[in-house]
Symmetry: C2
Subunit: 330 residues, 2 copies
Amino acid sequence: MRVAVVEGDGIGKEVIPAAVEVLDVFGLPIEKVPLELGYGKWEKCGVAIDDDDLDVLKSCDCVLFGAITTPADPNYKSVLLTIRKELDMYANIRPIKPLPGVTGVTGKSDFDFVIVRENTEGMYSSIEEIHDDVAYTKRVVSRKGSERIAKSACKLAKERRNDLMIVHKSNVLKSDTLFLDVCRETARSEGVDHRDMLVDAMAYSLMTYPERYDVVVTTNLFGDILSDMSAALVGSLGLAPSANIGDKYAFFEPVHGSGPDIAGKGIANPIAAILSMKMMLEWMGYQKEADLVEEAVGKSILEKITTPDLGGDASTIEVGRAIANYIKDM
Amino acid sequence: MRVAVVEGDGIGKEVIPAAVEVLDVFGLPIEKVPLELGYGKWEKCGVAIDDDDLDVLKSCDCVLFGAITTPADPNYKSVLLTIRKELDMYANIRPIKPLPGVTGVTGKSDFDFVIVRENTEGMYSSIEEIHDDVAYTKRVVSRKGSERIAKSACKLAKERRNDLMIVHKSNVLKSDTLFLDVCRETARSEGVDHRDMLVDAMAYSLMTYPERYDVVVTTNLFGDILSDMSAALVGSLGLAPSANIGDKYAFFEPVHGSGPDIAGKGIANPIAAILSMKMMLEWMGYQKEADLVEEAVGKSILEKITTPDLGGDASTIEVGRAIANYIKDM
Ligand SMILES: CC(C)[C@H](C(=O)O)[C@@H](O)C(=O)O
Ligand SMILES: CC(C)[C@H](C(=O)O)[C@@H](O)C(=O)O
């Protein structure tokens, strides 16, 4: 297996080394291919990602990714969005599951759901028309795009509690009627129990009754919003991992950004990156190793080897190292 | 003053009479014009709102509105969206403020912010193109639309803590660059302190640090999602009021929908409707009366005259009547 390792910018440069430290413990046959992308590269070369970079990424099986700073400059092409599109990684999987000993803003810990976010279309079409007095963005919902994300969600639901919630805004967006219909048809033909809810009601309900949900499938921007919001249930954006999965490639990244306010201080929480790496291990078929990572992460929290956001005083790399050491002892 | 009173469907028929019961206590020179709109009318007449109805609405100064059931039927024209558009009520004002004795999902009660949602464009343009295999919705952001909502938000900020948060997704939607720029310019020229945040980060931050915000201005659909989500902070969708305000007309409605699951049982919480009526009193200039309503609502909760969602066993109308009686005694 070849893994492109992209630290990116800001705290990406801190959390990825911590995740790699944990990965290395297993001594698996994984070739790491470091790649510089992002704002740093843009400042040096005037480009944040180029065709050669894409070739490198495509020569790998998957990517372990930190975070990237997107400047306001309209000429800057988003690296993340470029990669998701070019490698056609259409399913963004964001598990929302409490960690032992940490509770989020609601104090609840009896939930475990996954947001499956369509990752290639919707409001992220980049089809825009910008005039001086008005600007348009075209939201695109295709049958093909809806079908493949619905299938990913159903596959996951069957491995879990067989309960699919389809989230949309079809009372306002007729484009979501297509999404809803396709998701329903797919769930029916896959034998997955399903319901649906409007995105506004769902935002309320996820915060109030997170225990009611198993797999939540939705369009791109709704998934973006609901998954950041749900990180509040878990306790911190620094704890939320994600996977972007396509038919050929996969890409693993913490939900958080490059954290310019805390970058360089060594206080960024590496757990989101480590759990993203854990999702990579699962994707590769190393389920046993993935389980060990999850267990060791839990242990680090219970033993209070944590970064300041969780009340501890350990540095990013110290947390990574502690988790690596727990695994060695397991 | 002429007020169109639209109960609408479902629990709209229960909460509006309760709100009217409270309004009537004051004996103000307000003429109430009852109007039937919505699903019920649609079933009888094949139309949920017609031109005559719009004429009636336009002959009034404002509207007190319950809730309307929107069926999946694609021929059904949304009453709410029609009214907002036809009466050009571009500012949707949604205060998020805890009530005494009720805490929401986070247990916090040290916050008090208002979401100012653009109400006429964005994803609600209704410019759509529906094909069999793909569907498009056009998101529209205009300078004029952004300017007037920014002004409303700045006006409110100046009456409050002079702190404006602009919420957008300009890292993905170039159409939001226009929105952001216009909001910034407006705030600058109005002398209002302002910051901005991406909508996904804001969803997380509002749930985690609601005390940090004063006035939050955003585009239509983001406002829709964030305001329902924020109702979880207050404790219940049954407590969240809203006002839709234009240059000529205004429209007051609870944030909740028609609640088909609980309709007809007399258990719907009328507080959102009563607080919406309170916003109507404020808009009319009856500030003293508005303050009394808020005080009486607080009293009803502290004395546990509440509907089951807040743990009580009073009916919708009993809560309304109790609040009316408190006011009589004040
Ligand atoms: C950085 C940004 C373009 C990205 C997105 O909107 O998808 C991020 O918020 C995410 O959720 O991965
Ligand atoms: C019913 C629906 C059309 C409406 C909206 O999306 O604006 C509602 O959710 C609201 O927030 O008032």
